[in-house]
């Protein structure tokens, strides 16, 4: 099957030049959208009676080994009633901040998936209600592990990693949100309270 999905011409009719290009790889249709129009296009794909992509299978990102190629954010969509799949991509300009609109308001399932992409690639999903690290801890300071510039063993030496792990206060494993409920917040060291109050993440002194 090398024919792209019929959703592609429909998207072109509805969104015109926001649809950059479409290809087929291993039988799956891939549509490239302009990053700023992604939210509108996905909302349309979800609700349009002829598309009905009601299920968000996955959100992830791809960075290529070729440093010239832009980082891509990938949405895997599925229509349960129509039994159809569509892969939507947005190529992010490497010279600008890595930002795409969040689709959390469309699918609850996007919540953790977008947090993971933010954690692993540093892509900021604007409009996400609670965009913080998910797999790495909140004060993780080495960067975003799945970026190609991130060495397999991490940026810091093993000694530095050990030192930071031993120096971390247990309170650092609670989010500001949780600490503000707990009475323990007032018993924290002053500098930590201030850091948490500023909403600071990823810094260990």
């Amino acid at each position: 099957m090398t024919q792209p999905s019929p959703s592609v011409p429909a998207l072109r009719r509805a969104f015109g030049d926001a649809v950059e290009r479409a290809t087929v790889s291993c039988g799956d249709t891939i549509v490239y959208l302009r990053p700023d129009r992604v939210h509108d296009a996905l909302a349309w794909l979800k609700t349009d009676p002829e598309q009905q992509f009601d299920y968000l299978t996955d959100v992830t990102a791809v960075e290529y080994r070729d440093p010239e190629r832009p980082l891509e954010v990938v949405w895997q969509l599925r229509s349960l009633p129509r039994k159809a799949d569509l892969r939507v991509k947005a190529a992010l300009d490497p010279s600008a901040p890595l930002e795409v609109p969040s689709v959390c308001d469309l699918w609850n399932g996007a919540d953790w998936l977008e947090r993971e992409v933010y954690d692993m690639f540093g892509v900021v999903f604007t409009g996400h209600p609670d965009l913080r690290r998910i797999l790495m801890w909140e004060t993780y300071a080495e960067g975003h592990p799945l970026r190609k510039g991130f060495p397999l063993r991490g940026h810091f030496s093993r000694a530095e990693q050990t030192r930071q792990a031993l120096a971390a206060a247990p309170e650092a494993h609670y989010s500001l949100d949780e600490l503000s409920i707990a009475e323990a917040f007032h018993e924290l060291p002053k500098d930590m309270r201030e850091r948490l109050r500023r909403g600071e993440r990823g810094f260990l002194k």
């Binding site: 009601d54 996955d58 791809v62 919540d111 989010s175």
Partner: protein
């Protein structure tokens, strides 16, 4: 006879001033709250503060290194904040530094309760990337691997969930049955947990002689245990009380939250990857997909229990096909992915070149990308590969089913009791190796 009616009062025995035994009532006393309030004896702030309870990461009821921070009003859950990542191993990053066949051992360690199904998904994803058509015997063997994994994974779920809700006996039954599958798994792959049973284009090994008789015996006797579990749980008043109407997700919520597998089907969504996107000839097997209607813990239990019966049915059919395909080749005869026989590699120039290229360079899929989703015991496991034509993937993405199923936990727990959080968390059937990867 009516005089023998016994009345229990909420009281503890005590002594009065004259040394006579009396009942001292529990609680504040007989006065109503407003009487205390009038007298200025009532602390208005009593009970107004929310409590923060931390469960895990080292807690048996969280099924792994999951940590839940729970905000409580009395015993009612206001919100749940899950913290994950304690088992993060960077599998996706490691995969970018390995050849495709070398990634298979990593997949064992993601969802370690169903390693063989993960191996199958990886091989299928790379084969989709390369456009390879595998042999029929290989497809049958992989179906057997997937369904065996489904049974052992659901048995672990059944046993541990029973323990979480106070039923110990079915845990012993289910682990006894699981042990029998593990023995078969060990006889086939040489390992109980880290099976690494597939290869791109085929299998690591065919099943040994006499093996299928052992699996047939298992299929014959296993349903009896399930019937016993069914007798113990399905109409058990305690079980029903703890599970019915608890942790409810509606159909719309389940779809919106990207749930999959038994969690999705218990909410009444008729979606099973085996039926809707058939792979490995699943469309030719005769089996039913159980669908729940209430989306609560009880329906998830019923769905998983029935899935085990159905998996046994599929295994029986697959074993018949395996007998029919006795002696048929397992691996594809494609020198790009499967090593030529050693005898040919030592005598035939072309075979030796292929042998050398495969060992030194590895399997090289063409430039492209492929997403392959299969119905794992926990839900839809998806492997998404991006290849730039070299022997190592540019990106290996695991779409972890229990990661997405767990992300619905905060929404399921709000308004429930603290003890229900344990039951709801158990019903999600998480495995942290896969969530944290």
């Amino acid at each position: 006879m009516s005089e023998r009616t016994v009345e229990y009062t909420l009281a503890t025995p005590g002594l009065d001033a004259r040394g006579r035994v009396v009942d001292v009532p529990l609680g504040l006393g007989f006065k109503d709250t407003h009487e205390y309030r009038a007298a200025g004896q009532f602390d208005e702030s009593f009970g107004a503060e929310h409590m923060l309870v931390n469960i895990g990461p080292q807690h048996p009821a969280t099924h792994g290194v999951l940590r839940l921070v729970i905000e409580l009003d009395g015993e009612t859950v206001i919100r749940v904040i899950p913290h994950i990542g304690y088992l993060h191993s960077g599998f996706e990053k490691l995969g970018e530094y390995r050849q495709y066949n070398q990634i298979i051992p990593l997949t064992d360690r993601t969802d370690y309760l169903s390693p063989m199904a993960n191996n199958v998904c990886l091989a299928l994803a790379v084969e989709k990337l390369m456009g390879l058509e595998i042999t029929e015997r290989c497809r049958v063997l992989r179906v057997i691997a997937c369904e065996m994994s489904r049974i052992i994974s659901h048995l672990v779920w059944l046993g541990t969930t029973g323990i979480d809700l106070g039923a110990f006996t079915p845990f012993l039954w289910s682990f006894q049955e699981r042990e029998r599958i593990y023995n078969l798994q060990e006889a086939w792959t040489g390992a109980r947990l880290t099976t690494s049973v597939t290869r791109v284009g085929g299998m690591m090994a065919d099943v040994p002689e006499g093996w299928s008789a052992g699996l047939r015996e298992f299929c014959r006797t296993f349903p009896a245990t399930l019937v016993e579990v069914d007798t113990m749980f399905t109409r058990n008043a305690i079980w029903i009380g703890r599970t019915q109407g608890v942790g409810v997700l509606t159909r719309e919520e389940a779809i919106n939250g990207s749930l999959s597998g038994p969690m999705l089907r218990a909410s009444g969504v008729d979606f099973d990857v085996r039926k809707d996107r058939p792979y490995l000839d699943y469309e030719t097997y005769d089996f039913d997909v159980p669908i729940g209607e209430h989306g609560d813990i009880y329906d998830r239990y019923r769905v998983r229990l029935e899935e085990m019966f159905q998996s046994t049915r599929i295994l029986e059919q697959a074993l018949d096909r395996l007998d029919r395909l006795e002696g048929a080749p397992v691996n594809v005869s494609d020198p790009r992915v499967i090593l030529p026989p050693k005898s040919r590699a030592m005598s035939d120039m072309e075979a030796m070149i292929y042998h050398f290229k495969q060992v030194m360079e590895g399997v090289k899929p063409p430039v492209g990308e492929a997403y392959m989703g299969i119905e794992n015991p926990k839900g839809e496991l998806g492997y998404y590969f991006v290849s730039d034509g070299t022997a190592k993937p540019v990106r290996w993405r695991i779409r972890p089913p229990s990661f997405l199923n767990l992300s619905a936990l905060p929404r399921m727990c709000v308004g429930a009791l603290l003890s229900d959080v344990i039951a709801i968390n158990a019903s999600v059937d998480i495995v942290m190796g896969e969530i944290d990867r």
